[in-house]
């Protein structure tokens, strides 16, 4: 039987009304697969149940000295074996495929959700929680989906066997019909304690594993400073707690397994005893006795499936709940009037509004290169086509300003949106997310390097005006390229084919910053807002980046939030922000001579910097101000550690 090609091009629109609804929706999406699997399962179990009949006939033939009957019985057994073998493979293929379909659908949905929420995601939910849905929870949901068909098969097989026996021996048939549900239910009282102990073991195991990972990740600190013994002791006790918990789980498990031998065994013995007495009466033959014994013993198989399904159901429900929680998250930054809707919300009631907004959006993006960017909160204006630098003493305020300049910022919980930044007079908070991001690119303080080859890293939506090589040259990333080539032997000397590991961990902070800068430069947005793009770069290189940036962004609107004189000197206009407002503007040199507050921030002297320099409490234990730096004796070396 051909299997459906997976993954599906589109995972579909799930029913997120409840965990149960979600599981049902997954089941509906693979109705054909479920039907086939049920059919194969019924046939497989049916042929297994019938095999004892063939064995019984064979033995009866021997007792009767009937060679022909023996061969007929052999033929029947052969037929059943062929059916069973075929069905086992068909069933296995189908249920595995059903599992994969459900798992891949959930994973596709989660990935789409993560992309749609973007920056809004990490504020709402921990990364681990989302990844857990895509790994552990997916497995449990898949397990349940896989089992449903086998559960139906097991129930059908049980009813089938009961009917046949009922017809031949009503007493036995009744025993089988009623015995199976009773035996299946007998496992349930232990299931709860087992689940609890297992959950405890998992939690402790997770903690120990985290402790190991954390100790190893910080090993350079431990080896450099000390404390190995302390951490080993901690880990040992965590490890021993896991061991003790696992043994507690094993106790319940052992009782469950013993019970799984004992109860069906008692049932088989009872049935055999009854059968033997019937055989003594002569009402059934030896062969039938064997058939009765074998078929009852066979019932252990559907019993196991029913027990497993109950187990799977209890865990899948919880997992489906977690999946629904992740899939129903929304990005709560849409303007209050609801007039704007972005792509991910386009199916909502605001559809017509969205279409209108999309037209405006295209227009906004087209006009963006010729539009001034204005932030009413700070009074900042960045002129179209110019390089504007902003000096701001307070890092948090700078981050908020950068986010505001891009429009539709992600707000912390309980924070009301202030007045929107305007691009060419249009409120950026009022346009669809995609439009705002296309018009203004905010390069925040901690841009993340996504893993992959350098070519993949630089493959971002872009204007096409700037080539990757130009951007890398402007960001002066040559030594980062060399480090990448050194670190990936498989790239054969081609930096574009060299691999960047997760978060660029193999690179130094300065190298990471320059690659991230190159990526934003390649995108070549109409408006680029850079927040401290070179804070980890050495002075030699920074001055060259400043020149490269100016050259590459010539004629494009660029805003740089920075404090380094090497960058500030390249700007057309420098704005000084204090307490969230623009208090001075001019060129770097003008401000250096005319504006003591500016000089104080840029030359890193705090006494003159005033209240805007930072929110941290600072005892005034500094020497008197000296703009150029001889007064920095107390902290000069410290600054060098940057």
């Amino acid at each position: 039987m051909p299997l459906v090609p997976l993954p599906l091009p589109d995972p579909g629109r799930p029913d997120l009304s409840s965990p149960l609804g979600f599981l049902r929706w997954l089941g509906r999406a693979q109705r054909r697969g479920q039907l086939l699997a049920t059919l194969w399962s019924t046939l497989e179990l049916g042929s297994m149940a019938a095999l004892p009949v063939a064995i019984g006939r064979g033995v009866q033939a021997v007792v009767d000295h009937d060679t022909r009957a023996l061969l007929t019985a052999g033929l029947l057994a052969l037929l059943l074996a062929v059916v069973q073998t075929t069905m086992t493979v068909l069933l296995h293929r189908q249920v595995v495929w059903n599992w994969i379909q459900a798992a891949s659908q959930v994973r596709q949905l989660v990935a789409r959700q993560a992309s749609a929420l973007g920056g809004g995601l990490s504020r709402r939910i921990a990364t681990g929680e989302i990844v857990a849905v895509s790994s552990g929870d997916v497995e449990k949901i898949g397990w349940y989906v896989e089992l449903t068909a086998r559960l139906y098969g097991a129930v059908l097989a049980w009813l089938g066997v009961s009917t046949v026996v009922l017809w031949r021996q009503p007493g036995l048939g009744l025993a089988v019909l009623l015995g199976v549900p009773v035996l299946a239910a007998a496992v349930w009282p232990l299931l709860g304690p087992f689940e609890r102990r297992y959950a405890e073991q998992r939690a402790l195991g997770g903690k120990a594993s985290e402790l190991a990972a954390d100790t190893v990740a910080g090993l350079r600190v431990l080896r450099g400073i000390g404390g190995e013994e302390l951490f080993l002791r901690r880990y040992r006790s965590a490890s021993q707690r896991v061991r003790a918990a696992a043994v507690r789980t094993a106790r319940t498990w052992a009782v469950m397994q013993a019970q799984e031998v004992l109860l069906p065994g008692l049932f088989v013995i009872g049935v055999t005893w009854y059968g033997a007495r019937l055989a003594l009466d002569g009402s059934i033959g030896v062969g039938e006795l064997i058939a009765v014994y074998g078929s009852t013993a066979f019932l252990a198989a559907p019993l196991r499936v029913i027990g497993e399904a109950a187990h799977a159901w209890s865990v899948a429900r919880v997992s489906a709940g977690r999946a629904v929680k992740v899939l129903t998250l929304t990005r709560d930054d849409a303007p209050a009037d609801g007039s704007a809707a972005d792509g991910s919300e386009a199916d909502g009631p605001a559809r017509e509004g969205a279409a209108g907004a999309a037209d405006d959006g295209a227009e906004l993006v087209r006009r963006a290169p010729r539009s001034d960017l204005h932030d009413p909160v700070s009074g900042l204006t960045a002129r179209a086509g110019r390089l504007t630098a902003v000096v701001c003493g307070d890092p948090d305020a700078a981050g908020e300003l950068a986010a505001r300049l891009g429009g539709r910022p992600v707000l912390a919980e309980g924070v009301a949106a202030g007045p929107s930044a305007r691009l060419g007079g249009v409120e950026l908070d009022g346009v669809p997310l995609a439009v705002a991001r296309a018009a203004v690119l905010v390069h925040d303080k901690e841009p993340v390097l996504l893993s992959g080859t350098l070519a993949e890293l630089l493959d971002v939506p872009r204007s096409g005006r700037v080539e990757p090589a130009e951007a890398l040259a402007a960001a002066r990333a040559q030594d980062a390229l060399e480090a990448l080539v050194d670190g990936s032997p498989e790239c054969a000397g081609d930096p574009m084919a060299a691999r960047i590991t997760e978060r660029g961990r193999s690179l130094s902070g300065g190298q990471r910053q320059r690659l991230a800068l190159a990526r934003s430069l390649v995108a070549d947005p109409p408006v680029l807002v850079l927040d401290e793009p070179t804070s980890a770069v050495d002075a030699h290189t920074e001055s060259r980046i400043a020149a490269g940036l100016r050259e590459l962004r010539a004629g494009r609107t660029t805003v740089v939030l920075a404090t380094s004189p090497l960058l500030l000197d390249q700007a057309d206009t420098v704005l000084l922000l204090q307490q969230g407002r623009v208090v001075a503007s001019g060129t770097h040199r003008e401000l250096m001579t005319d504006e003591p507050r500016y000089r104080a921030v840029v030359t890193r002297d705090e006494n003159e910097a005033g209240a805007g320099a930072g929110s941290a409490a600072r005892p005034a234990a500094r020497p008197a101000a000296d703009p150029v730096g001889s007064g920095l004796a107390g902290s000069g070396l410290a600054g060098g550690a940057e």
Partner: protein, 589 residues
């Protein structure tokens, strides 16, 4: 069907992997350590299996008596069956429990051994290899091994015991029937060999493919702001779909492997039952076997199915476990540097004499460096990225041993001193300010285990961290690090500095210690740092020129050599490259 193409390798292996011989030796060592537990498990399970053999024998005797005498001791036979069933249930439970206890002990040994070895790795190895590979060994490989040790090993042992006992029972029942029951084994041997040659690697690829989907997803979530800002959403979705496709292609391949192999396994079972039934029946018709024994024999042949399935099912898990074990054992193979415990420094002077160093044979990162660091002085290393400043710093901190030349502290060679002694004298302060999972107290204690709370608090005060530390909900007992109270990068940095205060080394090498922080947040850290530096010898790898300005001596490092050396006024006066850079910085700034 061909295996899918592999598009991507997993995380690079930067540390050695244990050889087969080393893994075997380690396995034997574990076996010796847990001999008693293993023997107990085998004995318990053997008893359960033997008890399980009673049922078919009872049925056979019933058939026998019904066929020949037309009746007889049904009640007695059923009584035996019942007693055997009780024994079988109890011993099955006991053997499972014994197996779990044993498995958990072995697992605890394995993971604790691994960490013991890991925390003894030389700092130079860690600096070079990074910790990514080690973390993946400590988590993924331990988890994989848990499956092997917890399930595969006991299952295989138990199943092997069952096969031997059932076959034995078959031979006792009727050697003829035993012969027919194993008819199907030779073909099974060949198909299984075919399967097991392909299976382990394919399953590894399959689970790597499965994990790769999550890696992409975790990155998308983690980099949410970047993804949104650069409009990468659609590409991330495409990438996830591609990873899902790659994962499914491996699922499909392993499914195909099983589709070929399963029927041969099932066929073998069928052949065993069919063979004993038909051939045994013919033997019985000729009086070679009694009907009762025939019945018992056929049921025993059927009883072989279960343990053989278990062996086949768990065998590849064992192979996977072996690969993970090799990665864990590999950590033991990192050579420990030769040290001389008798070596004690006399004084605090750090000197590099004609030092050359390269990470790889033939490519020197540093060439012929001679540098003398006066006790109590401040030396700034400046120069472009990639010039070798950080490497030089690590040589001066005793983390790397020079290829040629000597780096000495108080006349004693740093690289020959035990790491535990070096770090009481010199410490490297870098961008890595790891906050460990645990209490704030744990995080400080590691620097000086014997310190009491007063000393810990004093260290926090010294780095200007007392204010936020006091504000923590449980003070020193507050859980910090991943999962606990989150510290800001600046607080993490202060914590690292407080550790230095506690460890109290007289010489510090600063490598871009605050460079990843926002310069505006860095500012008040400088104050914390300056207090820590007071009274110590400092070698600072400098990014900002005002750092260099204040140092006693500046060494300009370019292309692995010291090209300029002297005090700030001297260098500015000499008019070299440093002077040029300084002028541009100062005039502009």
């Amino acid at each position: 069907m061909k295996p899918p193409e592999i598009h991507e390798q997993g995380p690079a292996t930067t540390l050695p992997v244990g050889s087969t011989a080393a893994v075997r030796a380690y396995g034997r060592m574990l076996l010796r350590r847990h001999r008693g537990g293993l023997a107990g498990m085998v004995a318990l399970h053997g008893t359960a299996t033997v008890a399980g053999l009673v049922g078919p024998a009872v049925l056979g005797s019933l058939v026998e008596s019904l066929a020949t005498e037309g009746g007889g001791r049904v009640a007695a036979a059923i009584g035996w069956y019942l007693a055997a069933l009780v024994v079988q249930s109890v011993f099955t439970g006991l053997s499972l429990l014994r197996g779990s206890v044993l498995g958990e002990e072995v697992l605890a040994d394995l993971r604790e051994d691994f960490l013991v070895r890991s925390v003894a790795l030389p700092l130079g190895v860690l600096e070079r290899a990074g910790t990514g590979d080690l973390v993946s060994r400590g988590t993924t490989d331990i988890d994989r091994l848990a499956r092997s040790v917890r399930d595969a090993v006991p299952e295989l042992v138990v199943a092997a015991v069952s096969v031997v006992l059932v076959l034995g029972a078959l031979v006792v029942t009727s050697p003829l029937l035993a012969a027919t029951a194993v008819l199907g084994l030779p073909p099974l041997f060949f198909t299984s060999r075919w399967y097991f040659r392909r299976a382990p690697q394919s399953y590894r690829n399959e689970s790597a493919g499965y994990a790769a989907v999550n890696t992409v997803l975790a990155e998308t979530v983690d980099a949410g702001r970047t993804v949104e800002a650069l409009r990468l959403g659609e590409r991330r979705v495409e990438l996830t779909d591609r990873k899902i496709r790659e994962w499914i292609s491996w699922e499909r391949y392993t499914l195909w492997l099983r589709s070929v192999w399963f029927p041969t396994v099932d066929g073998t079972y069928a052949l065993a039952v069919l063979g004993t039934l038909v051939l045994g029946g013919l033997f019985a018709l000729h009086g070679l076997v009694s009907p009762g024994r025939l019945t018992t024999g056929v049921l025993y042949a059927q009883a072989l199915v279960h343990p053989v399935s278990r062996i086949l099912r768990w065998y590849d898990e064992l192979q996977i476990g072996q690969t993970s074990l090799a990665r864990l054992v590999g950590v033991r193979e990192v050579a420990e540097p030769e040290t001389d415990a008798a070596l004690h420094p006399e004084g605090r002077r750090v000197e590099a004499q004609q030092v050359s160093f390269g990470y790889r044979e033939g490519t020197d990162v540093l060439r012929d460096i001679t540098l003398d660091v006066e006790p109590g002085s401040r030396v700034a290393l400046v120069g472009p990225s990639g010039a070798g400043k950080s490497t030089l710093g690590r040589l001066l901190a005793g983390i790397y041993a020079p290829g040629r030349g000597r780096v000495t502290l108080g006349g004693a060679q740093l690289s020959r001193m035990p790491a535990e002694r070096v770090r009481t004298e010199v410490a490297l302060v870098n961008q890595e300010h790891h906050v460990f999972v645990g209490t704030l107290r744990d995080n400080l204690h590691l620097a000086r285990a014997e310190a009491d709370d007063t000393e810990l608090l004093a260290a926090l005060v010294a780095v200007d961290a007392a204010e936020w530390a006091d504000a923590l909900p449980d003070g020193l007992d507050t859980e910090v690090g991943s999962g606990g109270t989150a510290l800001t990068p600046a607080q993490a940095q202060q914590l690292a500095l407080a550790r230095l205060v506690l460890a109290d080394p007289h010489t510090l090498v600063l490598d871009e210690a605050t460079s990843l922080l926002d310069p505006r947040a860095a500012r008040h850290l400088e104050r914390s740092l300056s207090r820590v530096l007071a009274g110590r010898t400092v070698v600072a790898i400098a990014h900002r020129l005002h750092t260099a300005h204040d140092a006693d001596v500046i060494a300009v490092v370019e292309q692995g050599r010291i090209t300029e050396y002297g005090s700030h006024p001297d260098l500015v006066a000499s008019g070299g490259p440093y002077a040029a850079l300084w002028r541009s910085w100062r005039d502009e700034g």
